[in-house]
């Protein structure tokens, strides 16, 4: 099954080409193209409703694309003779019958591929569900449900993992667990593709990012590059005991100045050096002068701001990169 030239774990490439999916009038995925490489964790980032889950369902053959294609190792998911050995997946909505026990759920999946019962017990141990494996899934917490999802995804020892919001509902310990697990799976050479709307989580887990908004590609880059790009034109943070005077002096030079808190300003449109010179000329004491690098959150907000499907009410809008009152 695996070509001899590769190691057992080397994952294939996921290739999405001009993928489009319409549900009636609504375009959920719009001419999307990107690749997911093996050996690293690739994050799939976008606000809720951006089309992440739809894209994943299209890759997994659950929905049929309106046009374009999504392939794994050059093949459609529908053509796999042993899909569980190729791809392990967790979907956002729990895809498990609530009336069945975790063990029986996994056993039924395993039997479609002739996978042994011993492997079922093994993955149950890997995710730490051995104490509740015989209980009905309906009584599981969200976190236990996610662990069961991970167990199902690992069942066939696949070379590709596709996970939709795997950290959802996990406690901090669980998040650390899944982060470590995914990184290790990627290090083994597998292709790991996970979606999230939680930017901080992505920053700690993923190396590369595919960012989408309203079904369209916004960025396909490394996490570092993504943050750097979004940081251009970012602010300089200035701490001064004479903040009011400094504010007036900077505003006079056409800078945009936000008061963050008492004695702390955020200056847009001037470099740190320019601010220092103005302060010297005006005889204003500076206690601190720091360029602000945008966090992944801010970068994300800035790049996807116009593509968020459902805008929050204006009072909830992030003010960090905008003019604060």
């Amino acid at each position: 099954m695996v070509p001899a030239a590769r190691t057992a774990h080397t994952g294939p490439m996921i290739t999405v080409e001009n993928l489009t999916k319409r549900y009636g009038e609504k375009v959920a995925v719009d001419d999307l193209s990107f690749q997911v490489k093996p050996g690293i964790v690739t994050g799939f980032l976008g606000p809720n409703g951006a089309g992440k889950s739809t894209t994943m369902r299209l890759i997994l053959g659950l929905d049929a694309p309106t046009s374009g294609s999504a392939t794994i190792d050059g093949r459609s998911y529908l053509d796999f003779e042993a899909p569980l050995h190729e791809v392990g997946a967790i979907l956002e909505a729990r895809a498990i019958h609530t009336g069945r026990s975790a063990y029986n759920h996994l056993l039924a999946l395993a039997q479609t591929h002739g996978i042994a019962r011993s492997r079922v017990n093994e993955v149950i141990e890997v995710v730490g569900l051995q104490d509740v494996a015989r209980q009905r899934v309906g009584g599981f917490s969200l976190g236990m449900g996610q662990r069961l999802g991970v167990a199902a995804a690992l069942l066939g020892d696949p070379r590709v993992l596709i996970l939709d919001e795997p950290a959802n509902g996990l406690d901090p310990e669980g998040i650390l667990w899944i982060r470590t697990l995914l990184k290790r799976l990627a290090k083994e050479g597998r292709t790991v593709f996970l979606s999230s709307h939680l930017m901080a989580e992505m920053a700690q887990t993923a190396e590369r990012l595919v960012v989408i908004g309203r079904g369209r590609l916004i960025a396909d880059t490394t996490v570092e590059e993504f943050v750097r790009r979004a940081s251009t034109g970012a602010a300089v943070r200035v701490v001064s005991p004479q903040a009011t005077a400094l504010r007036d002096a900077l505003t006079a030079k056409n800078a945009r100045v936000d008061s963050i808190e008492r004695g702390v300003l955020e200056v847009h449109g001037l470099t740190g050096q320019a601010i220092g010179e103005i302060a010297l000329a005006e005889g204003i004491v500076l206690a601190e002068l720091t360029p602000v690098q945008a966090s992944l959150e801010q970068a994300f907000m800035q790049l996807t701001g116009e593509t968020v499907e459902y805008h929050a009410a204006s009072t909830d809008e992030p003010t960090t990169l905008r003019e604060a009152a």
Partner: protein, 277 residues
């Protein structure tokens, strides 16, 4: 959740035998799924109790009231129909469970796990229908046999009993199981078409139980023309001990019911491959 720290050291990869998906393996999987749900066990139990128990119960009731029965009722009394009378109730249990076999997966989202494991999808439909039909056949054959054999001694009270050696009796007992098996497939197909539990059960009950009532209020000439074609009437000819001018023969009616089932299943199969989940 507590048992997490140790699991990081557990190897994710072990020697996994890499096999491909086959129809037989999907059948095994569906067998596990069928029996690992409480709703299955209760529904099947209800079907078995009804099929095996109602016949003898009705027979006891009839024998106790024999002297007071209408002469016409006594004349038309049929030992086969009395002993297998439980099918009226059992078909509800089998039908509802048949619908649930697929709609239960759609309502919980399980269908996505199922189709990710078997992306070609059709093997799942065949396996579900086949497994359920086999289970229904075996359980209903045993239940019908128990009903028949338990009823006859009761009927000896007024010498209206029959025996399995009597040709229509054997056909009816086996026929009851055949009818239930095909009915299970019929219901599974309806569930696959509608993909919604409430809708599927309504459709099933509408076709099997409501339609005859509607036909019943039509003028007699129309009733006689339409009645034999009703799924419930056509299907049940195979387990009936009596036939009048307005029903098909035992095997003819059953063949028509099999035809209906084949149509439902084929339409379901075509749609199953095309629809998004």
């Amino acid at each position: 959740m507590s048992a997490t720290s140790a699991t990081l050291d557990t190897p994710v990869r072990a020697a996994v035998t890499r096999g491909r998906v086959t129809q037989l393996r999907v059948v095994r999987s569906e067998w596990t799924k069928l029996w690992s749900l409480r709703s299955t066990r209760w529904s099947l139990l209800a079907g078995v109790v009804a099929m095996a128990g109602l016949g003898p119960l009705i027979a006891t009731f009839q024998m106790n009231r024999w002297a007071r029965l209408d002469p016409g009722d006594r004349l038309h009394f049929n030992a086969i129909n009395t002993s297998l009378g439980g099918y009226h109730f059992a078909q509800l249990a089998i039908g509802v469970l048949g619908v649930l076999v697929l709609t239960g997966e759609y309502s919980t989202g399980q269908i996505r796990s199922t189709f990710m494991a078997v992306p070609k999808r059709l093997p799942v439909l065949w396996a579900k229908a086949g497994t359920f039909a086999a289970v229904a056949f075996v359980l209903m054959l045993i239940s019908a046999l128990v009903a028949f054999l338990a009823t006859q001694p009761i009927l000896t009270q007024h010498h209206v009993q029959t025996t399995l050696g009597h040709a229509p009796a054997l056909r009816a007992v086996i026929g009851a199981a055949l009818y239930m098996a095909v009915l299970g497939v019929f219901a599974t197909g309806l569930g696959a078409l509608v993909r919604n539990t409430a809708g599927g059960i309504s459709l099933f009950a509408g076709l099997l139980f409501v339609l005859p009532g509607v036909v019943n209020i039509l003028p007699t000439s129309m009733q006689n023309a339409i009645n034999p074609y009703l799924p419930s009437v056509a299907g049940a000819t195979i387990l009936s001990g009596t036939h009048d001018a307005h029903t098909f023969s035992a095997w003819g009616g059953f063949a028509l019911f099999c035809g209906y089932t084949a149509v439902v299943l084929l339409v379901a199969a075509v749609l199953l491959g095309r629809r998004d989940t």
